[in-house]
């Protein structure tokens, strides 16, 4: 019955994190010419791990486990990026890195959307019973 208890699985959280990361990367790209700006990023792997470990535990065989996929508040998800080469004005944005990460992130966002779409389609066909 897990498909009806939590029909979207982990992908809802993933979409939210991907969206947050887009804003962070867009901030970096927007501040490419701002002196003393330090590039930041979300550590996606550790954020995702923190999100998943926050589920409610069960103490009895007949308890229903609740996985709290919405709990995103954690300590220190935004981290500074280490630049490959220092620049004179103290700006650590490297436009090539940011561009490639932005593209990678948007591809993964689209992938998550595709997963969500098929989840929704799966639930719909289960409900219709066709």
């Amino acid at each position: 019955m897990s498909i009806l208890q939590n029909p979207l699985g982990i992908h809802g959280t993933a979409l939210k994190l991907r969206e947050q990361r887009i804003a962070v990367l867009a901030s970096n790209i927007a501040n490419v010419d701002t002196p003393n700006y330090k590039a930041r990023d979300l550590d996606f792997r550790s954020v995702m791990a923190a999100t998943q470990s926050k589920g409610m535990s069960t103490s009895h065989a007949r308890h229903i486990g609740v996985t709290n996929y919405q709990a995103l508040e954690g300590e220190g998800m935004v981290k500074y990026r280490m630049p490959n080469s220092a620049s004179l004005d103290g700006n650590t944005v490297e436009i090539n890195t940011e561009n490639s990460l932005f593209t990678e992130n948007s591809m993964r966002y689209q992938a998550t959307n595709t997963f969500l779409n098929s989840k929704i389609k799966g639930v719909m066909s289960a409900l219709r019973g066709e």
């Binding site: 962070v24 901030s27 998800m77 389609k121 719909m124």
Partner: protein
């Protein structure tokens, strides 16, 4: 809705880069404005960019950019002897503007590239928003 703030951030950067392009255009246009005193000649201007923290917590970060003022170049204006110039002072000298055309061209290219990058970011964000809006259809 982080995608909407990503659009806002990109648009702030586009405005800032546009100001930079306009400043460069003004500098290039006024390159030959001379004066009879150093202050009478044109001085190169340059915008100062500043980060605006929209959201800055441990788990979320959004920063746009704004133009925080215009810096007037303090490079000395070159003096040239040209007594026939109507702007010449009593000694026959005119002061040239302190615009460096090579520097301005480099800045212009840089600004237009950054502007293009912002347009691409906006387009990509828009595509992502559209695909999320189409979910389940």
């Amino acid at each position: 809705m982080s995608l909407l703030s990503a659009l806002k951030i990109s648009s702030s950067a586009m405005t800032a880069q546009m100001t930079r392009l306009n400043t460069t255009a003004s500098n290039l246009a006024n390159m030959d404005v001379v004066g009879s005193t150093p202050d009478g000649a044109y001085k190169a201007k340059r915008p100062i960019f500043k980060t605006v923290m929209e959201t800055y917590t441990t788990d979320n970060f959004e920063a746009s950019v704004k133009v925080n003022g215009i810096h007037v170049s303090d490079r000395p204006n070159a003096k040239s002897y040209d007594p026939s110039n109507p702007a010449a002072n009593d000694d026959g000298f005119v002061f040239m503007s302190n615009v460096n055309s090579i520097e301005e061209m480099v800045d212009m290219t840089n600004a237009s590239r950054s502007y293009q990058t912002q347009v691409e970011v906006m387009n990509a964000t828009k595509k992502m928003m559209m695909s999320t809006l189409q979910l389940g259809k």
